[in-house]
């Protein structure tokens, strides 16, 4: 299949006092349409930096990347929830639709659907300061989904959730991804999470990050809890673990 995203020798160097800090060193990979790709790597290996470049928030210092079919509509979940404190949970979720001038009634209806999906019913009118870290992150996830983006860039979206909610969000994300056929690039620190969700896992090396391993996850779908206890899952997990260390 034709890749929807081609990344060629992408590098990012941040200016600093001694010659620049190389955050990302020559990363090359492709992503096919509707593929679910997870990005693993040690802290500081440039994962967030890579997502920021792809979202158009940061200009790379070297290499380039192209989206087939032009700039896609992006839904992004940042490492922090990034909510607007003056807006309620519901108003935060509807923001992307507001930017697309969707009428208020429709905005509200679609937000309420997502609020139920992420399990925040009853907190529609809560302000961010009254939400726990995990709840705020769920608002951010709903906000990233509401405008039906083509490409989801997720930076450790489930990092601050409790284990139970996290696993529920995994199944929901799988479901949404399969139903709406989106392309997903998701940063995670959890090997289990990556293997449960992804078609492919990319592993970044220590800073400056390069793609150290590109692993196809050929576990059958839909994946359930059971898959985690299979021998193949264990083999894949070991490969990832070795690559990270």
């Amino acid at each position: 299949m034709e890749p929807i995203l081609t990344v060629r020798e992408l590098s990012v160097t941040f200016p600093d006092n001694n010659g620049g800090l190389e955050a990302l060193g020559s990363a090359s990979f492709e992503i096919c349409p509707q593929e679910f790709v997870c990005l693993l790597g040690p802290s500081g290996s440039g994962k967030s930096t890579l997502l920021r470049v792809l979202a158009g928030l940061l200009r790379p210092t070297g290499g380039d990347f192209v989206f087939a079919g032009g700039q896609p509509k992006i839904g992004m979940v940042f490492q922090q929830a990034n909510l607007m404190p003056w807006r309620t949970a519901l108003e935060n979720i509807t923001l992307p639709l507001e930017l697309e001038n969707v009428p208020p009634d429709e905005r509200r209806a679609r937000a309420l659907e997502l609020i139920e999906l992420v399990g925040l019913t009853g907190f529609e009118d809560a302000r961010p300061r009254d939400l726990s870290g995990g709840m705020a992150q769920r608002v951010a996830i709903a906000r990233a989904l509401i405008h039906d983006p083509d490409l989801l860039l997720l930076d450790e979206p489930f990092g601050s959730l409790d284990a139970l909610t996290r696993e529920r969000m995994w199944s929901e994300l799988s479901r949404i991804w399969q139903a709406r056929r989106k392309t997903v690039l998701m940063v995670t620190h959890s090997i289990g999470e990556a293997l449960f969700l992804a078609d492919r896992v990319l592993v970044l090396s220590q800073r400056p990050g390069r793609i150290k391993l590109d692993l196809a996850v050929d576990l059958p779908r839909p994946r359930t809890d059971e898959v985690r206890y299979t021998a193949h899952f264990g083999r894949l997990a070991r490969k990832l673990k070795e690559a990270i260390e």
């Binding site: 979202a55 928030l57 940042f78 003056w86 507001e98 405008h147």
Partner: protein, 264 residues
């Protein structure tokens, strides 16, 4: 962070109980009454409270107090409005553009050093004793604090929220309307609160220097006639104006900033 516990602020107002305010007002009135009665000071130096009250009534009917008040109030409001608009516009440009900041900074620093009160006579000479010169003085005096607060407020908008808006392909206008204005509003209204108080001073200074109407003009006339009770009337009216204006800004803060209530 403000360490002055007596600063005029919504918190200070909320802390003060109505009965306590009434009680202290009554005590002040009583003291004033006693001093004016037993000190033997002539009433052109210290008029008694009831004389001021009577004078107030007469001023309403004979001295066009309402007209003078309306004139001063319009000067204040127009000056506040133009000064704020100019300061917010320029402040936004300074906050967003380093180049513009470098170009404008010397003038801004210099303008802050000019004592507006001292150049008020000049402005009245140039622009006449009418309303325009007063509006200008108000606007100038309001300009700097609002500008500074605009710059601080706009600069403090979290970069992460800018990233969010850009990842969603928000337009310039949408970023201003949906991110920068609401995020900078607390600091901006803080500047407006200072500006509101200053604009009263600006208008009165302008009128004292040269005017043919307004509360400052009334004070000047009354002083010339040793009508001290009328001076008192004008001063109290000014205090009432300043408090009303302050209340207006506090009301705006309450309306727009309820989301950060618990942070105060």
């Amino acid at each position: 962070m403000n360490l002055n516990p007596f600063r005029l602020s919504p918190q200070t107002l909320r802390r003060s109980r109505p009965w306590a305010v009434l009680l202290s007002l009554a005590a002040a009135l009583l003291t004033w009454e006693l001093v004016s009665r037993f000190s033997g000071l002539p009433s052109f130096i210290l008029p008694a409270p009831e004389q001021v009250a009577v004078r107030f009534w007469r001023a309403l009917n004979e001295d066009n107090l309402l007209l003078h008040t309306a004139v001063t109030l319009s000067e204040i409001l127009l000056g506040l409005l133009t000064g704020t608009l100019a300061a917010v516009g320029l402040g936004y440009a300074v906050a967003k553009s380093r180049t513009f900041e470098r170009l404008a900074a010397p003038y801004l620093v210099a303008s802050q050093a000019i004592p507006v009160v001292a150049i008020a006579p000049l402005l009245v000479i140039w622009f006449g004793p009418g309303m325009f010169s007063k509006v200008l003085i108000c606007a100038l005096i309001v300009f700097f604090p609002v500008l500074v607060n605009t710059v601080v407020g706009v600069r403090a908008v979290p970069r992460a929220l800018h990233d969010l808006m850009r990842s969603l392909r928000a337009t310039r206008g949408q970023i201003i309307r949906l991110l920068e204005v609401p995020a900078a509003l607390p600091v901006l209204l803080g500047g407006l609160r200072i500006g509101a108080t200053l604009s009263v001073i600006g208008a009165v200074v302008g009128e004292l220097v040269g005017a043919d109407r307004g509360l400052g003009f009334l004070i000047n006339t009354a002083r010339g006639l040793y009508d001290t009770a009328l001076v008192f009337v004008a001063v109290f009216t000014l205090i009432a104006l300043a408090l009303a204006l302050y209340g207006l800004v506090a009301g705006l803060e309450k309306k727009f900033l309820s989301w950060q209530e618990s942070h105060e």
